[in-house]
């Protein structure tokens, strides 16, 4: 009996199908797990305190993030935020400027037509509470009651 030989396999290069499978999985993972182009004005160089408890904020659109650092001369703290005039990068907001109080004015303006308006404080963990007092006072005077402290999850 004549035996038929198996057809000869032609190798057409490297099989890329498993590579595409893995890469597609990675893309889906990154799409779901990362945030792109979301800038809430938080200064990532600030070392924030760690806390076990904490909540995720659902409505960050109504929140203004204020980065608070203590100055070495023990004057008013350095406060930065993504406010009017900031071009994608947090700018300094003065606490006092002569007879003006720019931070208070900004908070009052934002709070005026928005009952849900709140402030996120991103403060340096080693700074003293004294640095935070002018910011909290401005929030209180602008009737902003929703003040949240940004903390890091323990590693």
């Amino acid at each position: 009996m004549k035996r038929h030989a198996m057809p000869e396999m032609k190798e057409g290069g490297v099989n890329v199908t498993p590579l595409i499978d893995v890469v597609m999985c990675l893309i889906i993972f990154f799409l779901l797990a990362t945030k792109i182009g979301v800038n809430d004005g938080g200064d990532k160089s600030i070392e924030i305190p760690v806390s076990q408890f904490g909540e995720e904020l659902k409505d960050k659109g109504n929140m203004l993030t204020l980065n608070v650092r203590e100055r070495s001369d023990a004057g008013d703290p350095l406060v930065t935020g993504l406010v009017e005039g900031a071009q994608g990068k947090p700018i300094e907001i003065q606490i006092r400027q002569g007879s003006h109080r720019p931070l208070l004015e900004i908070l009052k303006r934002l709070r005026k037509d928005n009952d849900k308006f709140g402030v996120i404080i991103r403060g340096e963990k080693e700074m003293s509470y004294q640095a935070l007092v002018p910011v909290l006072t401005a929030c209180m005077e602008a009737n902003v009651r929703n003040v949240d402290l940004n903390t890091a999850k323990p590693k």
């Binding site: 990154f30 945030k35 806390s51 076990q52 963990k125 940004n150």
Partner: protein
Amino acid sequence: MKLKGAKSVHYDSGPNMTPLVDVVMVILIFLMLAGSFAGAEHYLVSNLPFRKNGGGDATPSAVPDDPPLTINVDNNATHDGYIARVDQYAATDEEQLAADLASLRDKMAAIGQTPDKVQVVISPGHGVKYKYVTEVFEAAQSVNFKKIGFSTGH
């Protein structure tokens, strides 16, 4: 002489995947570089205290009549840390403070007060480090006090 032409071999191995792999790799690298992972941070949600007097313009009806539970926080004189005083208790760490606040909460419940409505006011000294203020805040939150705010210090 008869020349034998080269035998043309045609491999039909499906669609050409090379451009797809190129594009997909570019997308992957972009996502890896441009994306930032969420979930490393969270927020301690606070409510600044209402005041009957002062700069805040809270309506008087919204101001709770119950006296607030004030936690005074000062620097620890013996080491880098803090001492938190509330009622007759004094705590130097978060665990101890949480236990003290839990007993106060139980006492309030026993005399008919509603602990959930009690406004906890954290009053740190100006020199207390912010990280210790957040620890005190966390201790209050861990025993289910809902209304936690800050005073401008003492």
